[in-house]
Amino acid sequence: MSSIQIRNTTKQFGALTAVDNLNLEIENGEFVALLGPSGCGKTTTMNMIAGMEHPTSGQILFDGEDLSDTRIQDRGVGFVFQNYAIFTHLSVHKNLSYALEVTRVPPSEIETRVNAMARRMNIEHRLQQKASTLSVNEMQKLAIGRSAIAEPRIFLLDEPLSNLDSVFRAYMRSELKVLQHEFKQTMVYVTHDQIEAMSLADRIAVIDKGVLQQFGDPLEVYNDPSNVFVANFIGSPSMNLIEGTLAVSEGKPELALGPLTTIGLDDMRFATLVERSAGNRLVLGVRPEFIYTGAKRTAGDIALTGVIDVIERIGPKKIAHVQMGGFEIRINSDDPDLRPGQQVEFCLPASKCLLFDADTGNRIRI
């Protein structure tokens, strides 16, 4: 149970900068997800927190204390990896008790804690069996249990759910959240899966190419992305990102997508865009669930027409992929009458449109 301070931390491997001047303040008892595509530097960051890698520059502190000279095993860090790291030749009991034996906890207390944890993880009937006899799902429970039992100051989890089947993954997601509430442990969770990050974390650090893109709670990164990368990475199906050139016609801004397609930005929200230079490349972003079919509900909404290309059914949702002048727009619609090949009129609600600078990717706040 510690807070973690990552200050101006950079990690270089030769010419490669894996982590670039990272600053993160993780609070005591907080569940933080490090989220990004493979190679973004999230695992390197975790390894530096653990002490397995040393920052090239900058500091990592626990409760404000510099642990650079503390041995890894004395830092009070618990680990859960994707590949379990379980002693398969030992019994379930031994796997659980090992960390306590190493730290010389009295035998009677070990027994109590092992039994409590086994009950907690629903594997008490397996205690005397070899870990190799466990199912994949039970192994991951054991892996979490054997780390949690030592009551570490911080808990690091590296893609712990990625080998599990989807039903069990959903179950473990809930379970991890309950565990964290129970133990009030600081958890740092590395994942490339935005759904996992959204559903588990108190706050998400979105990382790309070693650089922190945004640090905020799940709905903050979803509703208010700071740049195109975050907008595109968070959410499924992904946000529609429509790139075009800014023009002004009769005092109103427009976005020219191509020689034949222009989107009028009539709503008052967009009025300040006329102060920007015509010719600016902009990206208009709108999430599929905000787009509606049929006539405009609000005067400033952007009405468009396209042809439905493919309709996907994803659980209770239907996602229509609509072709419009060489662009594809994804619409998450509950309209049961949509069919492939059909022409469809739809609207982008002005109040839900986000704008980005196409060159820098940064959000334009209007």
């Binding site: 595509p37 493979s38 089947d165 989807s166 039903v167 959903a170 997601r173 809930s174 959240k177 309950v178 509430h181 490339h192 899966d193 935005q194 759904i195 959204m198 559903s199 588990l200 799940p218 709905l219 979803y222 509703n223 595109n232 990475f233 968070i234 959410g235 499924s236 199906p237 992904s238 999430r287 599929p288 669930e289 290309d309 493919v310 996907e312 059914r313 994803i314 659980g315 209770p316 996602i319 992929h321 998450n332």
Partner: protein, 369 residues
């Protein structure tokens, strides 16, 4: 273009028995094969491809018995999960390889290459070697190598599993487009429910070497034939509650009597009776309300997962059962908030003691034991 069918196909492996399997895959169909890892999906593909011969049963391609035909006589192309591109060859040489192997004249081969490049939009990458390509580009080259033979059908075994999430979403729609534009027969194997159900015309759900259900994605999602199918399709998974069902009153009562729901209008049956049953209700079909409004049961909110376009809540209900509900939009609850859950009878799935959908079909109520 091909129709492919399997009739009573069986194959015994040392640790695993496949079949009997009956499948009819129509000409130009995008046919999904879905199931958890090692349920027998890939074995079915190998039998269709001719890499494995069945112990019993027949494989028909375009109506002709192809059971004894060798793989290279079946004219079916396979795209593997690991793509199996030659790393030292350019995209062009990878695509041309199967034609060169068959001694197709250079001029004809180039013509095929041009056709495939246009369809797959790969002209700008075919001179690169695979290590210089992105995951999506490699994927397209692998498809190109399958397409260039102009095969009767395509088998795709988890073809996009190795790509990252965003690219997978794009590629699966692209595959659907390719299949439809070219009028190809696709057999698409995956353990990813969202992927298979998203783009297939019909899907076979495989359980332990047998086909549990075949149907359109809507049929499988809305009318799963068994608890097994209901459980592996849908995320978060369906909620299940055990209890008893009266065929006379159409009422279900949970094992601990906390939950009573009118599921179906009473069936007119000769011998009304009460059966052991399980009900399933999808998280999005639960009616969630706050406070004291109408609802079937009360519960407390354990946790809230905000996923942006929807919200999942875990609710502790009677006897410690945890029920998951999915609500559209962004909704906040305090931890421990008291809520009510309604179980709309029309959205409740009923299964008998063997885990089969009940009644299997309106006219087919089984007799009492």
């Amino acid at each position: 273009m091909a129709s492919i069918s399997l009739s009573n196909v069986r194959k015994n492996y040392p640790k695993f028995d496949l079949g009997p399997i009956d499948l009819e895959i129509k000409d130009n169909e995008f046919f999904g094969v879905f199931g958890p890892p090692s349920c027998g999906k890939t074995s079915i593909l190998k039998i269709i491809l001719g890499l494995v011969s069945p112990d019993e049963g027949n494989v028909f391609i375009n109506g002709a018995d192809a059971t004894d035909a060798r793989a290279n006589e079946r004219n079916i192309a396979m795209v593997f999960q690991n793509l199996a591109l030659f790393p030292h060859m350019t995209g062009r040489d990878n695509i041309l390889f199967p034609l060169r192997e068959r001694g197709v004249p250079v001029e004809e081969a180039e013509k095929q290459l041009a056709r495939v490049s246009e369809v797959l939009h790969i002209s700008h990458i075919i001179d690169k070697t695979p290590d210089k390509m992105s995951g999506g580009e490699r994927q397209r080259i692998a498809l190109g190598r399958a397409f260039v033979r102009d095969p009767a059908g395509f088998l795709l075994d988890e073809p996009i599993a190795a790509l990252d999430a965003r690219l997978r979403e794009e590629m699966r729609v692209e595959l659907k487009r390719l299949q439809r534009e070219g009028n190809h027969t696709f057999i698409y194997v995956s353990h990813d429910e969202e992927e298979v159900l998203g783009i297939s015309d019909r899907v076979a759900v495989v359980e332990d070497g047998c086909v549990a259900q075949v149907g359109t994605p809507d049929e499988i999602y809305d009318r799963p034939s068994s608890i097994y199918v209901a459980r592996i399709v849908g995320s978060p998974p369906m909620n299940f509650i055990e209890g008893r069902f009266s065929t006379a009153t159409g009422e279900f009562v949970s094992a601990d009597s906390h939950l009573r729901i009118e599921i179906a209008p009473p069936h007119v049956v000769d011998n009304p009776r009460v059966i052991d049953a399980t009900i399933g209700v999808r998280p999005e079909n639960l009616a969630v309300s706050r406070g004291n409004s109408d609802g079937t049961i009360t519960g407390t909110v354990l946790s809230v997962e905000p996923l942006g376009s929807f919200t999942i809540i875990d609710v502790a209900a009677f006897d410690g059962a945890v029920i998951k509900a999915r609500l559209p939009g962004q909704i906040t609850f305090d931890d421990g908030a008291e809520i009510r859950l309604g179980f709309p009878g029309s959205a409740v799935h009923l299964f008998d003691a063997d885990g089969r959908r009940y009644p299997a079909a309106p006219a087919a109520l089984p007799e009492a034991e």
